[in-house]
């Protein structure tokens, strides 16, 4: 939690291995990721972390299936296994009948569910969700939150969500408050 400019996204980028700190260490699964080279960071992102963004960030030219399958391509998973897993994941998020649709042919909620399926593609330990409901109406937003909670319970995924919405934050088991780049309160 935190107001805009409080450093939520920066923290998320650091945990997500998208960025490295100018000083200090970041331990992720016991490994200091601040010391990793770009290729090492990419490998961590690919295997350990799944991202869900506020703007969904799907690749517009690819079908839902291809969007979900693409993280597996970078991990060298053969195409048959990729596609099988991608359609299984899309089925799980309730888009089994939309696999060949392009993002532009899907509603916001559907797009975010494709993004969730994509985040799960490489079976990551951690899912980082940056304002995942920010672009959705409240009904759709709740569905997404429910889905994330279910993932946490059933699949034992760690879910780290950034939000400035108090009501959403209440759904979490722990809340960390940030202000001006510092943790001011942890629940």
């Amino acid at each position: 939690m935190g107001a805009s400019g409080s450093g939520k996204s920066t923290l998320m980028n650091l945990i997500g291995c998208l960025d490295i700190p100018t000083k200090g260490r970041i331990l992720l699964m016991g490994k200091n990721i601040a010391a990793l080279a770009p290729s090492g960071l990419a490998a961590m992102r690919g295997k350990l972390i799944g991202f869900i963004f506020q703007q969904f960030n799907l690749i517009p030219t690819l079908s839902a299936l291809a969007n979900v399958a693409i993280p597996m391509m970078f991990q060298g998973v053969p195409s048959e296994r990729r596609n099988a897993r991608a359609s299984q994941l899309l089925g799980m998020v309730g888009l089994g009948d939309r696999v060949h649709h392009k993002p532009s042919e899907l509603s916001g909620g559907q797009q975010q569910r494709v993004a969730i399926a994509r985040a799960l593609a490489n079976d990551p330990k951690i899912i980082l969700a940056d304002e995942p409901t920010g672009n959705l109406d409240s009904t759709m937003g709740h569905k997404v939150i429910d889905f994330l909670k279910e993932l946490h319970k059933k699949e034992k995924k760690t879910i780290l969500m950034v939000t400035h919405d108090e009501r959403l934050a209440k759904e979490a088991e722990r809340i960390i408050y940030l202000k001006d780049g510092k943790i001011i309160k942890r629940g």
Binding site: I59, M73, F74
Partner: protein, 407 residues
């Protein structure tokens, strides 16, 4: 892995079809120009060497006058003689030497008149040698024999329905220079206007018809005993004739041609043409390459956010580089493929057009596999060379900056 990347890169190009085609334009114009002009040049080279009956590599031809090409329709000032033939025949490495005459004649058949080249055939053993050397054979009827009078064998295109509005078959009567002849046979088509448009007559008949003196020849056909001796024989004929005709080296009023020397003369012309073609095509290809670079830089900029997303979901520097690098390689390669296709079609059309307008077989298309494969490899190379810098830019992007990038 590579196959997956290729598929991804290809689908990206497909999603921007118009831009991809425009980018490839520069490449395929260059490649098409190279393919068509080189192929036409090759065709010309082949046509010229076959035109003059120089397909036999062991054939040496002695012409009077230094001009390259078939001896003309006028009497040379200092013609070749029977003595010359006998002297050449005695030279080391010579298997056979035969004098021949070649004149333009008027042939009339079916009320129509056409010009043709009447060429004399020697008697005896030399007849067989010449037939073998040039590859004369009768498609219909028979070849001439010693002592045949008022008989002619004509080339395939003269016998064609198109020449006299009526096909000529063996046994038909025609007049040559106003004198009646019977057609004994039709030559097998060779694809050379000299042979296909020729009238073969026995030497005595030819002389009588053209009013040529007994002891003069327009050219001498010489066959070397061994293929490897061709150059040596050519040298000794030149030496002999310089002495007999009393001319200094460099001032010869005759020429001794071999298949190799005929082709090298054409090559001299073609080298100039080829350099010009390569220069023009080179400029076009460099411009095409820069076009690819420009398109790829634009693509990198446009897809900054996509690069950020791909990086976030686990794409490393190398993967991003490969994706963009392959894309430019595909642009080059596709440009090359289209260029080759256009070049081949263009060449065939140009050759057909040339043949129908000028009416000679000099316009031919000959495609060397090396040229086609080389063009393909070169266009791919061009794509990847000009793709390196944009791909590096894409690969080096910082994921956070790229993700934050708004169009």
């Amino acid at each position: 892995m590579i196959a997956d990347y290729l598929k991804f890169s290809f689908s990206n190009l497909k999603s921007r079809k118009l831009r991809s085609y425009l980018t490839m334009l520069g490449i395929f114009i260059g490649i098409a120009a190279v393919v068509s002009l080189i192929s036409l040049g090759e065709g010309l080279r082949y046509a010229v060497s076959s035109q003059f009956g120089f397909l036999g590599a062991d054939l040496i031809r002695v012409n009077v006058g230094s001009a390259f090409g078939p001896p003309g329709s006028s009497t040379p000032s200092n013609p070749l003689t029977t003595d010359n033939i006998n002297q050449i025949a005695k030279l080391n490495g010579v298997r056979m030497a035969a004098g021949r005459n070649l004149r333009q004649v008027k042939m009339t058949f079916n009320g129509k008149t056409s010009f043709a080249m009447a060429v004399s055939m020697p008697d005896g053993r030399e007849r067989k040698e010449i037939e073998e050397l040039i590859g004369y054979s009768a498609a219909k009827g028979r070849m001439l024999k010693d002592g045949d009078r008022s008989l002619a064998v004509i080339g395939a295109s003269l016998a064609d329905k198109e020449t006299f509005d009526k096909e000529i078959v063996p046994g038909a009567s025609a007049t040559i220079q106003g004198k009646p002849f019977t057609v004994a046979g039709i030559l097998k088509k060779k694809g050379s206007f000299v042979i296909d448009g020729a009238i073969l007559l026995n030497e005595d008949m030819h002389r009588e018809l053209m009013g040529l003196p007994k002891d003069q020849y327009d050219f001498i056909g010489v066959r070397a005993a061994n293929l490897k001796d061709v150059d040596a024989v050519k040298g000794s004929i030149e030496k002999l004739l310089r002495k007999k005709r009393n001319v200094k080296e460099g001032e010869e009023d005759f020429s001794v041609e071999t298949a190799a020397s005929a082709i090298s003369q054409i090559d001299n012309v073609l080298v100039g043409v080829n350099i010009f073609v390569f220069l023009i095509a080179g400029i076009s290809l460099v411009v095409g390459g820069i076009g690819i670079m420009n398109t790829m830089y634009t693509a990198v900029l446009e897809r900054t956010k996509e690069i950020g997303i791909l990086k976030a979901i686990g794409a490393g520097t190398q993967s991003i580089f490969s994706l963009f690098f392959l894309e430019s390689g595909i642009l080059g390669l596709l440009g090359g493929i289209i260029g080759i296709a256009l070049g081949v079609i263009g060449t065939l059309m140009l050759a057909a057009l040339g043949r129908s307008i000028v009416g000679t077989d000099l316009f031919q298309a000959r495609f060397s596999p090396l040229l086609l494969l080389g063009s393909l490899a070169f266009s791919f190379l061009l794509g990847i060379i000009f793709g390196v810098a944009p791909a590096l830019r894409a690969a080096k992007m910082h994921p956070v900056d790229a993700l934050r990038y708004a169009k």
